[in-house]
Subunit: 225 residues, 2 copies
Amino acid sequence: MMMVRKSKGLGERHQKILDFIGDYQREYKHPPSIREIGEHCGISSTSVVNYYLDQLEKSGNIERDRKISRGVRLTNPALLGDMFRVPMLGVIQAGEPIPVPSNADFGAFTPEDSVEVAMSLMPPKEKVRDLFALKVQGDSMIDAMVNDGDIVILKPAQEARNGEMVAVWLSDRNETTLKFFFKEKDRYRLQPANPTMKPIYIDKNEALEIKGKVVMVIRRVDRQN
Amino acid sequence: MMMVRKSKGLGERHQKILDFIGDYQREYKHPPSIREIGEHCGISSTSVVNYYLDQLEKSGNIERDRKISRGVRLTNPALLGDMFRVPMLGVIQAGEPIPVPSNADFGAFTPEDSVEVAMSLMPPKEKVRDLFALKVQGDSMIDAMVNDGDIVILKPAQEARNGEMVAVWLSDRNETTLKFFFKEKDRYRLQPANPTMKPIYIDKNEALEIKGKVVMVIRRVDRQN
DNA sequence: CTTGACACAGAACAGGCGTTCGGGTATCAT
DNA sequence: ATGATACCCGAACGCCTGTTCTGTGTCAAG
């Protein structure tokens, strides 16, 4: 019989168990039992499951409440429940183009570099998978009612419909900006969210690259104390 | 022995059990057992707990996975997991005082009138219990970088320290406003979040009622499509 | 007063479930 | 070869837990 040895890190079975615990918890709202883990991961003995759980606990991937039924939980906070995690790819500021998500960014990103958002705050049909977040740096987005330190959640997009708020890169001006997008006869109108401010107009032969649509803005007002 | 009868709705014990399940789940990340519920709710017999759980299941407050350990969960979506629900008490706008939370507002509020926020977005020590949310109506908060339709999450407060963002009611001016609060020699300085705008000064003998501290602002940009 | 729903206690039963122990089999360095 | 190490099995022990059954006291309706 072949067995793959992994001297370091998580083996295939570790990962399978981790995934199963998450899936199970998401579905049944309570953790699986050792025997259930065994069944669904192709492990016939409870002692082997226990063996792996011990390792996962030592490596910090799970926590266990010993002696009590279904006392396993993922330490890695949440993909659980009704929230999802959006990767924080970097900063957005007027003078620089925004980071654009690549495939490598998804799947593996640390909890520290991400934002958790409740499902209930999202539009129902939104594809959660490829959303990404950027932290606003500087005061250059104030005309979009977005402050220094705010978190902007975006959906990747190259096009937009009228009235949608987009992140655009104006290469002629070397500028990133957040504006409401309107396509007019021979130009684009970029309308600030602040109703007291006037729109800017971009001629159609000028370069205008839409990078994404703004889905949500989050401002945490707790930086002092 | 006295016993309170409730012909309709949830009795005191039902509520206690419901609360306990929520608290327990939040703390241990898995549901309590029947015996644990009994101990913490002053019920000595498991059959009585089961008796109440049956009722709570029939009334739709919980779901049960029969025959398996710790198979109870609140149907009422979430106070579970790593998020919490903040009651939406009303609107905030310049011309009117803000709704202030009363005890009656907490405990029972519908999912529709509430906002769910991930724990990870909150300051660690924040008391989640008495936070409340208001929907911004109109463009009167633009100097606080808060837009029409934004959701403001507040913590009740009568006082504030310098640099905190507060919701204040200026009864002399008949005005509600969101500003950064600074106490100066003989006056209060209320600083707009928008750095391009100038502060307003309130004399100390003028009426200034702090209603709450702003903890978070959420803007959903998904209203069209 | 009887009856029956209701709220509760206690005990007992049967599985569920975590734990532990003795025993296997590969792979690999010594 | 030999031990060390990692991986795995099955069984048994014993507490954990949900379920169920019997019984008790209260209270309101008939």
